[in-house]
């Protein structure tokens, strides 16, 4: 093994990790939304949430297929989705939070969508052609998600006394996970240095501005809580993650290598 070869392998490993950093958010959020299939508060929102889930899952598949290809091992997209242990998932804490109630699901979606769209807008110009293509395709979908979730934030926030209280509580509760969206892992730093990755910390300010604007429109109070928590992106997840993965991985763990 020569030095160049090792260097290339290391770069590939970082790119692999980078892809998962982005893709795992979509997978885990898709799983959370999928749980609501047949359980939405009414037919229209049930269909909307599962449609969003499907979009995210589609994006996840494209990312994982790419990751599998560059992994240099005999991996498939399914191996990456189903056969990792909890510590190997790189999603942020926000997306794994449970569907406590409809307002909570909407708040989680909204706080993620604003970030997600900003990321896609940058990623579509990445010199990495595959990532750029996935982002360009996803951007249309994600802007529709954001439209849906911010509409509901306004509707519930500026709705009845009860819906407002629940929406406020959800935003207050989930606020602590927003800072992690902008935390850069080693892979993200490395890939940004390479010019492929996106410097997410650069749009943090814009994110809070945009979120605050919509919260104001929804007559909600912008949380002042400065206590933030993180860990998911480095594999240290909240207590909800284990249950989520048990559901997600059940079939592959019970019937190894099963296919459709």
């Amino acid at each position: 093994m020569n030095f160049n070869f090792i260097l290339k392998e290391m770069k590939n490993q970082q790119l692999y990790n980078y892809i998962l950093t982005i893709a795992d958010n979509s997978l885990i959020l898709a799983q959370r939304l999928g749980e609501l299939c047949g359980h939405g508060p009414n037919l229209e929102t049930d269909i909307a949430l599962t449609n969003i889930s499907l979009d995210l899952l589609g994006q996840t598949r494209s990312y994982y297929q790419y990751a599998a290809k560059i992994s240099g091992e005999n991996k498939t997209e399914d191996d990456i989705a189903f056969l990792r242990i909890e510590r190997e998932y790189k999603n942020c804490l926000l997306v794994e939070q449970p569907n406590t109630h409809f307002g909570y699901t909407i708040a989680r979606q909204f706080l993620f969508d604003v970030y997600h769209l900003m990321l896609m807008e940058k990623l579509q110009n990445s010199p990495d052609e595959t990532l750029a293509a996935i982002a360009k395709k996803g951007i249309k979908e994600v802007s529709y998600h954001k439209r849906f979730s911010s509409d509901w934030v306004k509707r519930l926030g500026d709705g009845t006394e009860e819906s407002k209280a629940k929406m406020q509580e959800a935003i207050d509760d989930l606020w602590r996970y927003t800072d992690e969206l902008f935390f850069m892992t080693e892979a993200e730093k490395e890939m940004t240095k390479e010019g492929i990755g996106i410097n997410i910390s650069a749009f943090k300010e814009k994110y809070y501005e945009e979120v605050s604007e919509i919260l104001k429109e929804a007559t909600l109070t912008i949380p002042e809580n400065k206590y933030f928590t993180k860990g998911g992106k480095e594999g240290v997840h909240s207590e909800h993650m284990g249950y989520l993965l048990a559901d997600l991985q059940y079939m592959q763990r019970t019937y190894p290598n099963m296919t459709w």
């Binding site: 229209e44 929102t45 269909i47 909307a48 449609n51 969003i52 499907l54 979009d55 995210l56 899952l57 589609g58 994006q59 598949r61 494209s62 052609e129 595959t130 750029a132 293509a133 996935i134 360009k136 395709k137 996803g138 249309k140 979908e141 529709y144 439209r147 849906f148 509409d151």
Partner: protein, 166 residues
């Protein structure tokens, strides 16, 4: 409109026309504009297919149906899924749009009109049953990712609207 500069070999078109979107069976894959290339080389048909939406479950089925359609005439087909350039509703042929309307799905509006009906409450979507534009949005998401649900305030029928995607 069928984009003219697409590399789709004429002799393959009759077979491609027989493969339809499983969710809107009146539309062939050519009407839908998801075939971006179809060429035959050394007896193997190479097809480039692009998804309408990232998670569209119809794509796997379409891929299998394409292979099956060609195998029925003794040809092997290889289907490659491509993401770029991203599919747009502009790629649905005029013939396809007409078939869609007849099938009961309202055709996509222009991008700015689409925003006005999905975000605002402008009445621009034409009811495929009675032709009235006295319609309103019921849900931004419909039975599939590409559609929204509307209702006609004249004939009272609910219907799908194919969302503009650009």
């Amino acid at each position: 409109m069928l984009v003219e500069n697409l590399n789709i070999e004429t002799h393959l078109i009759p077979v491609l026309k027989t493969v339809s979107d499983p969710e809107i069976p009146v539309l062939s894959v050519l009407d839908l504009g998801v075939i971006r290339e179809a060429v035959e080389e050394n007896g193997i048909v190479h097809i480039k297919l692009t998804p309408t939406y990232s998670g569209c479950p119809a794509m796997d089925v379409i891929g299998d149906d394409l292979k099956k359609a060609f195998s029925e005439i003794g040809k092997k087909a290889e289907v490659e899924l491509i993401l770029s350039p991203a599919w747009s509703t502009d790629w649905i042929s005029e013939e396809g749009l007409q078939k869609m309307e007849k099938y009961g799905i309202a055709r996509p509006l222009s991008e700015s009109n689409d925003k006005d009906v999905l975000l605002g409450d402008k009445k621009l979507v034409k009811c495929p049953q009675c032709g009235s534009t006295n319609t309103h949005l019921v849900s931004q998401f419909g039975s599939t990712a590409c559609k929204a649900i509307f209702k006609c305030d004249d004939c009272q029928e609910p219907f799908d609207y194919f969302k503009c995607l650009k």
